[in-house]
């Protein structure tokens, strides 16, 4: 799915990166308010959904080769986060829906999850 399809699927607002929407393709999504878990479980190329808004969200996405971020619950990323995203060419979207509803729509539309590998207890 490309980001344009994702925008129309969840009725998202594009904060930045309008020109990239058709170019960026994602197959998977990972939703979390824990960047610690994103670093452990998100696959490269995954779309990130989060309710956090700080600059480290964009930084974490950049390090994990995550091409775009959707902020849920109508949360707007902080100024520094937008500035970094603009700088590195990462589209940012805002969904006014809850995490659950946003994810549900994307799952129904065919975005797959990141499978969590078994690990030592």
């Amino acid at each position: 799915m490309n980001l344009k399809e994702i925008v129309s699927c969840i009725g998202a607002e594009t904060l930045h990166g309008e020109d990239l929407l058709e170019k960026v393709e994602v197959e998977k999504a990972y939703a979390s308010d824990l960047m610690s878990d994103v670093l452990a479980f998100a696959w490269p190329g995954t779309l990130l959904l989060t309710g956090l808004t700080n600059v480290q969200i964009v930084r974490t996405a950049q390090m994990m080769d995550i091409p775009a971020v959707v902020f849920v619950r109508g949360k707007r990323p902080q100024e520094e986060a937008v500035a970094l995203a603009k700088n590195i060419g990462m589209p940012l979207l805002v969904s006014s829906m809850s995490m659950y509803e946003t994810c549900g729509l994307l799952y129904k539309a065919g975005l797959s999850p990141c499978v969590i590998p078994a690990r030592e207890a």
Partner: protein, 148 residues
């Protein structure tokens, strides 16, 4: 690739705005040197987790990457408080991070186990009151490490 390539960055403690800049520069260096993406991705996780630990737990430190034709070594060195119980710190879920750090999405006690998973070798030397040296190695060719 030259036989040895080294980059070093100073990481400031509690500077959450800059946190990750060093790791990103190391990532770009690896890509520039033609390191294949499965390796550079593992390296990114290691460096970023180690950098965040310098920012969060140790009042800053030095992050260094050493690249040779065989392997990548990532070193995080600090003069912070040290880690009193390393076995405990290596356990998923153990964290001493503050509420402020947790509100930013970190401090879930995932970092050190994640570094271990992504390294072929991991060594942590820590002395209470003196500091910590974390050394993680990723081999470029399979069969040279003990991962898996």
């Amino acid at each position: 690739m030259d036989s040895r390539y080294e980059v070093e960055f100073k990481v400031r403690g509690d500077d959450f705005l800059a946190a990750g800049e060093a790791s990103n520069q190391i990532k770009e260096t690896l890509i520039m040197l033609g390191v294949p993406s499965p390796i550079s991705r593992r390296a990114s996780v290691i460096t970023y987790e180690a950098e965040m630990n310098l920012v969060i737990h140790s009042g800053g430190g030095i992050l260094r990457a050493i690249i040779t034709p065989e392997k990548l070594t990532i070193e995080a060195k600090d003069q912070g408080p040290g880690i009193p119980d390393l076995d405990l710190a290596m356990r998923e879920g153990f964290s001493t991070a503050s509420d402020k750090v947790r509100e930013m999405g970190f401090g879930a006690g995932m970092g050190l186990p994640n570094i271990k998973r992504n390294s072929d070798c991991l060594q942590i030397d820590s002395l209470i009151g003196k500091g910590t040296i974390l050394t993680a190695t990723v081999f470029f060719h399979q069969g040279e490490g003990n991962r898996g």
